[in-house]
Homo-oligomer: 203 residues x 2
DNA sequence: CGCTAAAGTGAATATAGATTCATTGTTTGA
DNA sequence: TCAAACAATGAATCTATATTCACTTTAGCG
């Protein structure tokens, strides 16, 4: 007779997949891609290495899956903010604040993704993710300029600078957030202030 | 009798060391750390893999050497600019312009260093390099605030944002400079303008 | 129960790349 | 010219992981 997976079984499978993804995310968050070896992921997920390959064709695809999922979530939130309307200044401020706050809330943010290359396949996705973030900000900038809110400026460079600025301030090695005694609100304000001024608001 | 290297020999040795470093730098510039395998370095330098180990105890130390040398050079230039005095605004503008111009001049900048991790040892150095850049900008910022040129602001976050901004705009994946038809002056101006406004200059 | 399909395992294999070292070539100083 | 000391080579070795696959366990179904 044909083999039909019961609902319970179906759930277990999905659960395993979830546990693999979760384990990967945690390992990456804790110590970057380098920490997330297949053996480590398997151990953390409480399964065998072989089983991972039943769910993902390769380590690279597992990573890409984890990455895109995380980026999708952020992009959706940013788009939501833009969709809400308001002045370009409000949108930009809210977008940065949201991103920065979520990153700080971590505890150990998938955002580290934005900053660490490994293999070409994953890299491609990482870059795509960064571009998608850049596009959001480019849009807000262009809009603000069109509305006369911001002075005329190079939106490509501006978007790149904004992404670079808060990425570095948050997860980069220069980051003040890496040193203890963080005051989240202070950091959010500082980054938002920096970017808003940079874009032309006297604030 | 004791063996004493002749001057000529001494020079050949030094030349080999130089060629190894140069080959490494070029390979890294062309395709990142990943391209710079020991085999590739040896091939490019026109020597054997074994010889590399006569000059450097490990691949990591070779990379660290190449990295620090490059960073040292940049830092010295930035310090020279600061030492020349002038208003904080002038110093900041000149420092950014210098850095950005040199990076654009490439041909294929050692600055990619700033953006790509590999092993812990090299990472440590990379991070130190970024900190050293950050320190320069933190200094200029603090000075400008003290002199009343810039509004009061968080210098730690500001410095990180500045480093992040031009790093991303130059070598990051979002970078507009990666796409052809570059207009160097336009990019320099855009980045400098962004950072100066961010710091509080109405410009 | 007994039989099959799928889930799950983990030791064995494959691969890539750094590192070593036995060997060969060159330089030095008498 | 010769022997010791050093430079240089590159195939062989070591290492670290990703990936496979022969096998064990469990679930579905008559």
């Amino acid at each position: 007779m044909a083999y039909k997976r019961s609902v319970l079984m179906e759930e277990r499978l999905a659960g395993n997949r979830e546990r693999i993804i979760l384990a990967t995310r945690k390992l990456i968050a804790a110590g970057g891609f380098r920490e997330a070896s297949i053996a480590a992921v398997a151990a953390r997920a409480g399964i065998s290495t072989g089983l991972i390959y039943r769910h993902f064709p390769s380590k690279a695809e597992l990573f890409v899956d984890v990455l895109t999922t995380a980026v999708d979530r952020e992009i959706a939130i940013l788009q939501g903010i833009v969709a809400k309307g308001g002045s370009a200044q409000e949108q930009l401020g809210a977008a940065i604040e949201s991103f920065v706050r979520r990153a700080l809330a971590g505890p150990n943010l998938a955002y580290a993704f934005i900053a660490e290359p490994i293999d070409i396949e994953v890299d491609a996705e990482r870059i795509r993710g960064r571009h998608r973030f850049g596009d959001i900000f480019r849009g807000i900038l262009a809009d603000g300029i069109a509305r006369g809110e911001f002075p005329d400026q190079d939106v490509d460079v501006g978007a790149a600078c904004i992404v670079g600025a808060f990425t570095e301030a948050l997860v980069g090695p220069t980051s003040p957030t890496l040193r203890e005694a963080r005051d989240d609100t202070r950091i959010v304000d500082a980054i938002r202030g920096f970017c808003l001024r940079a874009v032309g608001m006297t604030n």
